[in-house]
């Protein structure tokens, strides 16, 4: 073994150690000193299971978005037919993607023209004549459905991102996952329930006129439900702050105005001490509409409805110009603030459902870190002590290799910006086991060679050489399974796979290259008379 080869290998190892320590510093030092430069943001971030936080997978109800779209189009079609002087057109949604249109027979051509010109994305699936009317079933075509799915998910993503921005969570993750899912991760959040409610709220704001402020008789059947009306409920607060269904009202089904005209929403102090109102500002279209509604319905009650719940139903005193309205209610500060956020950021195009939730409270996260680190240190220390006790100087060498192994591993995780989770820690423990094994294999082999009466130098050389195939085979098999795990695993298993693969690579390096270097150095100096093993 030439001195030069040893020198270069030594230089390489030293360089690796220095670079690793450089990459470790940002994770260990708080605050990160400025002189670290570009590595300063290379930090091992802790997973939600360790630092606490909420992981949500929201699935966007794209089918509902399609249904809403069909409904809106059906309404538009009805209006268009009226405008073209088609008498008594009837249009309604009769399936998830299907609407049924009927017009008197003599208007069949007008219907055909309007469908062809303005509603190309509707395909006719059946036409028949009944009682002097043409009845046509039309369905959205596949391209349009795909487009609605796509835009519903994209818009939801955008809206949810805006809401979370306003909530003020640091370093949130919001990304699309698969076809219809949205992944949301909120590290270190204190009140996950509130965040969940805020994010998941559809927040469809509607204004409807109240027909009868007492809805009860229509619910229990004392009075028949008039055509074009529906019963909605108000909001009542329980003692524990829990919200439940309140007073019922009979409102007209026709939507006078929706929340899409809102340009801003703010919390303001109310008239009573400690009360709050949410004021909303509208764009010019909304202002005009609102003025029209209020002027034509003076003295009637206007219901302000959010997600089918009546928030307030003030009596219209006079025409209101200027496009400003207020929502009153017994809000807590947080509730008022969240209401303003959802009004400002707009409605979700479709409801979202929570497909998966994992929340770890901040205390449990801290407990997990403490216990994880403690068990890791205790277990590791026991192994280190045992190695020295069993292998003497060779044990010290193995211990140095093990410690450097952890240094390399964590530095690489930091460099990759990987997230350390509990399964990740388990992966580190496992690679340590493999690293110990590699050292044991080498040392046992050297002992065997010594027993055969070989010189120290020959025993070391053939020990490394003979142990190598077993070390490589076992690490390669584990590495292969790590890759498979990364490919198929989800969430925690992926984290485990990453640490496993990186750890295996660095453990082979430390056990085979690094410890060998020390022996080679001593051999080249001629100081390896005996091996303390």
């Amino acid at each position: 073994m030439s001195d030069r080869s040893i020198f270069y290998r030594g230089l390489m190892v030293l360089g690796l150690i220095l670079v690793s320590i450089l990459y470790l510093l940002p994770s260990l030092l708080d605050p990160v000193p400025g002189w670290l430069g570009f590595v300063a943001d290379k930090k091992v971030s802790l997973g939600l299971d360790l630092q606490g936080g909420t992981h949500l997978i929201l699935s966007v109800d794209v089918d509902e978005a399609v249904r809403t779209y069909v409904e809106v189009n059906a309404e538009q079609l009805r209006r268009d037919l009226r405008e073209e002087d088609v008498r008594s057109p009837r249009v309604r949604r009769t399936g998830d993607t299907v609407a049924t249109v009927s017009v008197p027979e003599k208007f069949a051509d007008d219907l055909q023209t309007i469908l062809d010109e303005r509603f190309q994305y509707f395909e006719t699936i059946s036409v028949k004549t009944e009682d002097g009317r043409v009845v046509r079933e039309v369905s959205l075509n596949a391209d349009e459905i795909a487009r609605i799915h796509q835009s519903a998910v994209e818009q939801s993503l955008e809206t949810i991102r805006n809401r979370i921005d306003q909530l003020g969570v640091s370093e949130p993750v919001i990304q699309r996952q698969g076809q219809t899912d949205i992944l949301v991760q909120l590290p270190g959040i204190q009140d996950p329930e509130r965040a969940k409610t805020l994010i998941g709220r559809t927040a469809v704001l509607e204004f409807k006129l109240v027909r009868d402020p007492v809805g009860g008789p229509y619910v229990n059947g004392d009075k028949p439900l008039p055509a074009g009306t529906e019963v909605l409920y108000g909001l009542v607060k329980g003692n524990s702050g829990k919200r439940s269904r309140g007073k019922s009202l009979l409102v007209e089904s026709r939507i006078l105005m929706t929340g899409d005209v809102i340009t801003d929403a703010r919390v303001r102090p109310g008239e009573l001490p400690n009360s709050r109102i949410v004021s909303i500002d509208m764009n010019s279209r909304g202002a005009r509409l609102f003025e029209e509604i209020t002027s034509s319905s003076v003295n009637r009650q206007l219901a302000i409805i959010l997600d089918d719940t009546v928030y307030s139903a003030p009596r219209i005193q006079e025409r209101i110009p200027g496009g400003r309205a207020i929502i009153t209610g017994s809000f807590t500060a947080d509730e008022a603030r969240d209401l303003a956020i959802v009004l400002r950021t707009g409605a979700l195009p479709a409801p979202v459902h929570i497909a998966e939730e994992r929340t770890v409270g901040p205390t449990l996260g801290a407990d997990s870190i403490r216990q994880g680190v403690r068990s890791f240190i205790v277990g590791g220390a026991l192994v280190l002590v045992f190695m020295i006790f069993y292998y003497k100087v060779a044990g010290v060498l193995a211990d140095i290799a093990l410690i450097l192994n952890v240094v390399f591993l964590v530095a690489m995780l930091a460099g990759l910006g990987a997230t350390l989770t509990l399964p990740g820690i388990a992966g580190i423990v496992l690679t340590l086991g493999m690293a110990v094994d590699a050292n044991v294999l080498i040392n046992e082999r050297i002992r065997e060679e010594l027993r055969l009466g070989k010189t120290a130098r020959a025993a070391v050389e053939s020990g490394y050489e003979r142990a190598l195939p077993a070390i490589l085979d076992s690490n390669i098999t584990s590495f292969l399974s790590g890759i498979i795990l990364f490919q198929f695993g989800s969430g925690p298993i992926k984290g485990f796979a990453i640490t496993l693969c990186i750890g295996l690579a660095s453990s082979v390096f430390t056990a085979v290259v690094l410890t060998r270097l020390v022996y080679d150095y001593r051999i080249s100096r001629g100081t390896l008379e005996t091996v303390s093993i």
Binding site: G361, S375, F488
Partner: protein, 305 residues
Amino acid sequence: MIELIPHGTTVDFIKYRNATAAASGLLVLIGIAIVGLRGPNLGIDFAGGSMVHVRFASDTTTKDVRGALAGTELAQVNIQELGGGDNEFLVRVPLSEEDRGAVTKRVTEALSERFGADQVEILRVESVGPRVGETLRERAVLAVFFATLMMGVYIWARFEWRFGVGAAAALVHDVFLTVAALVMFNYEFDLSIVAALLSVVGFSVNDTVVISDRIRENMRKDKRAALRGIVNRSVNETLSRTLLTTGTSLLVIFALYTLGGNVIHGFAFTLLAGFIVGTYSSIYIASSIVLYFEEKYPSAGRKVA
């Protein structure tokens, strides 16, 4: 030189191979009975449903918790006490039609209403919908299957086919017995348990590879000696390494098991059970199968027994 196994130790492992084969067979049968009778306790990762991990400021009984939740009208609520104290509980609610966010909310609200909001600390909430549960289940099964296949193929390519068969058999044996142990002690199967099972697979293969590697080396050294003797010698030569590695690994795992906390308890248990079974199987199952094939199809030029 400190030696765990004194130099020159030769235990005739192969002598006991019928007895151990019988023991393994019996264990597997018992395992099948346990898994069959009890069925694996699938966690919400795989079965779907919701879980709330809660800590009370003062001691509470399962009965009180159940009482507090009676008003929620949630069906089949399962309440499990956790850890050493009397104040940590897992509340599980199986999959229902309801939106899962609402289920966990109802549980936490009912508890804070009954015990007072400052008395209840929500440590962890998990909720998995049916579609997600199914995906996770599928991916876990695929991951275990392909990882096992990949290892078998690698060993088959690097060694002889009979070593591959031996390793694969040892692997299946280890995973199965570990699963049986988990079922017996009623551990819940979740994603971290799957990760642990895969570590067991990795460790088991690692052990088998080391012994197979030595058998291969000794076979090359002596082209005519009976394989029985070679296997026995190889197992003995690697015995101290086997025990050292298993021993040090168990040291770390035992620390995880006792000090690691509730969250990784199941994980550590899986490793503990799996590593013990894995060490035994690489000595007995894998090498026995190689020998079995030698007796059936003797290698050319090699003495029989």
